[in-house]
């Protein structure tokens, strides 16, 4: 008999559920510090550059603080949608594709109406963006409900398809006709202000996508804690058999969770392409759809947690850029750092779900 045993808790510990993300962050800082040391950087300086300087450094702070909301907005928006599905055991990991398609469809709708100055233009594009992401997520949803096809693989394959569509439209259908043949669409902020996602309050990074993210968090919170659908989602994830007996329709659940996640990812794409990115180009997407998966888990699949996790992850992005600039750290180091964070979190979850017992078990009498 081993000396250390795990004993399943009847219900996950609330204390540890809240503590593990913090423990994971600390563990990641330590492991990350070791990694930075191997890469030849001073670990303490690296950690400070990533976590402290973007917010409080007098020189970089004013520039990077607004970036916090700019980067957190799409992450929170996408992760909030993903978490609904993850809680129900529906694994949509192709949010990156839904995010790209939302951007393509939304931007396409706007560019088709160029040079309209109607105040209804931007709302229309927002709608089209949500629709684009929704439709892209409906492919795995319908294949899953009609044929039982694995949604993990289908949604992921569709990311590669979406990336190819993006490459195609940015040098074809949506290319800037005045762009002298260069790939990429018109720049929304420069050439098409009526269709651009502007900063609402100057120098805060607060754009419409961030507003949408906050609204999504609130709605998701209400849905999960007050609405019947939220109950069905939780039940399906925690006790699938009980959910079936309670009359929860798996088909409706799959369509709802994938559809919502797709629409939110599509929104994130539209806000990104019309705002911070500025134009449809072959690489406007920056992988938010994948990082959002980490954000969803780091936030414990809980809307409020996701809000905090999104801000933290945005900080590592900005800090990573700063570390690249100041310490010559490779860009990939921060991706590795984010991956580590997810590992530590998943590993620490053992404390929430199990009691650690030391010593040999007593024989049952």
């Amino acid at each position: 008999m081993s000396l250390i045993r795990l004993e399943k808790r009847p219900a996950p510990s609330r204390l540890f559920s809240a503590l593990t993300p913090l423990m994971a962050v600390v563990a990641t800082m330590i492991a990350g510090g070791i990694m930075f040391a191997i890469l030849g950087a001073n670990p303490l300086e690296a950690i400070r550059t990533i976590f402290w300087d973007p917010l409080f450094d007098p020189q970089f702070g004013p520039y990077s603080r607004p970036q916090l909301l700019v980067k957190a907005g799409p992450l929170i928006l996408i992760a909030t949608g993903l978490a609904l599905g993850f809680r129900a055991g529906i694994w949509n990991i192709g949010a990156e594709g839904q995010y790209i398609m939302g951007a393509v469809v939304g931007a396409g709708a706007g560019l088709a109406l160029y040079p309209s100055e109607s105040p209804l233009l931007f709302p229309l594009m927002v709608l089209a963006g949500a629709l684009g992401g929704w439709a892209w997520a409906m492919i795995p949803a319908i294949l899953k409900t009609r044929f039982g096809t694995n949604e993990i693989l289908v949604s992921l394959m569709l990311v590669y398809v979406a990336e190819n569509i993006l490459a195609s439209v940015s040098s074809g259908l949506l290319r800037n006709p005045d762009g002298m043949g260069f790939p990429g669409s018109r720049n929304f902020r420069r050439d098409f202000p009526a269709a651009s996602n502007t900063e609402i309050i100057e120098n805060t990074g607060m754009h419409w996508g961030v507003v949408a993210a906050f609204i999504a968090v609130i709605l998701a919170y209400v849905l999960m804690s007050r609405h019947k659908m939220g109950f069905a989602i939780r039940l399906a994830g925690e006790a699938p058999r009980a959910a079936r007996f309670a009359g929860v329709s798996p088909t409706r659940l799959i369509i709802f969770c994938l559809g919502t996640a797709g629409a939110l990812a599509g929104l994130a794409g539209l806000f990104e392409v019309t705002g911070p990115a500025g134009q449809i180009s072959i690489d406007f997407n920056s992988g938010y759809g994948f990082t959002a998966i980490i954000v969803a888990f780091l936030g414990r699949l809980n809307p409020i947690g996701i809000l905090l996790a999104g801000l933290l992850m945005a900080l590592t992005y900005i800090g990573g850029e700063l570390a690249q600039l100041m310490l010559g750290m490779p860009a990939a180091a921060i991706q590795l750092f984010q991956g580590m964070l997810l590992f530590f979190l998943l590993a620490m979850d053992v404390f929430a779900n199990y009691r650690i017992r030391i010593g040999t078990p007593e024989v049952a009498k």
Partner: protein, 307 residues
């Protein structure tokens, strides 16, 4: 478009080369899933194998050393997954995804100095007499050794799973881990070994991409091959020979679309490039319509021996 420029013999010959990375990775993942574990980190382990294999290959000048180290690197990475899912009992889907994200970051970090360098050569076998047979010679007998190693591995895995005691234990653990545990088999130990094997195979597959198929290091160069390997395991209904069939089918599509691109097809390049992914989806749908036969009973479930 000029179809005449596509040589069918060369097409089939390059099919075998294009399929080998997916074949190796899928075969490894099949063994992992046969033991009841779903590791979605194949892509991450492949890309790590690709960069490590390439780096060692370049530094030692030997592709064999590259392949060996890539297998070790893939297995080492898979041990992170094994510890977190088997000892700390985490969710396998989330952990596998984490492994893929981690592997992608790790590989571009390691690969930075190797961008734009040429791979060391890996000579083809050119088996005497056999390779001179018309048509069959160039298709079957003029490849590099890894192509034949991958075929031998299919046979070995098939034999081990079907006819040996170890294979039987592995399958028992995958079908019903509680029953296997009650019979006294070490569920966690068996799964650790299966996961390590899967990691080594994914590493080999990745190294084949960077050392033979491309052959150089490009960031993110496996571009979804690991995910296609996962799909092929489902396609193959967890049977080794069907893995071979599936991998060659997908390799064929990849090679065909690349040839069409080179032949100046009127279909835009982007639509040709997305075809392997669309075909994967199509095949998954057909398989699921037919019913998902053959999935191991305990696949993806957490095993916790309460006593």
């Amino acid at each position: 478009m000029d179809f005449g420029s596509i040589n069918p013999i060369l097409l089939i010959a390059s099919l075998m080369v294009a399929s080998t990375p997916i074949l190796l990775a899928a075969l490894g993942e099949m063994v992992v899933e046969k033991a009841g574990v779903l590791n979605l980190g194949v892509e991450g382990m492949m890309i790590t194998g690709a960069v490590v294999g390439f780096a060692i290959g370049v530094n030692t000048g030997s592709s064999w050393a590259g392949f060996a180290t890539a297998a070790v690197a893939g297995a080492a990475l898979s041990m992170i997954f094994a510890v977190i899912t088997q000892v700390l009992l985490s969710n396998q889907v989330a952990t596998g995804l984490g492994l893929t994200l981690f592997g992608l970051g790790l590989s571009s970090l390691i690969g930075k100095p190797y961008v734009g360098i040429k791979a060391p050569g890996f000579s083809k076998l050119d088996i005497p007499i056999l390779s001179d047979i018309p048509v069959l010679g160039p298709i079957l007998f003029r490849h590099d050794p890894m192509v034949y190693v991958s075929l031998l591995l299919v046979a070995a895995v098939w034999y081990l799973l079907t006819y040996t005691r170890a294979g039987l234990v592995l399958r028992a653990v995958g079908e019903n881990h509680s029953a296997a545990h009650a019979l006294g088999y070490k569920v966690v130990r068996v799964r650790f070994m299966a996961i390590a094997f899967g990691g080594a195979m994914a590493g080999l597959g990745g190294a084949y991409v960077s050392l033979v198929r491309v052959p150089q290091w490009v960031e993110g160069m496996t571009s979804g091959a690991g995910w296609i390997a996962l799909a092929i395991v489902v396609f193959a209904s967890w049977r080794p020979w069907r893995i071979l069939l599936g991998a060659y089918l997908f390799g064929g599509i990849t090679v065909l679309q690349l040839n069409l691109q080179a032949a100046g097809s009127t279909i835009p390049v982007e639509y040709l490039s997305m075809s392997p992914y669309l075909v994967t989806i199509l095949v998954l749908v057909i398989i699921s319509v037919r019913g998902n036969h053959g999935a191991p009973g305990s696949l993806g479930r957490v095993f916790h021996a309460s006593h």
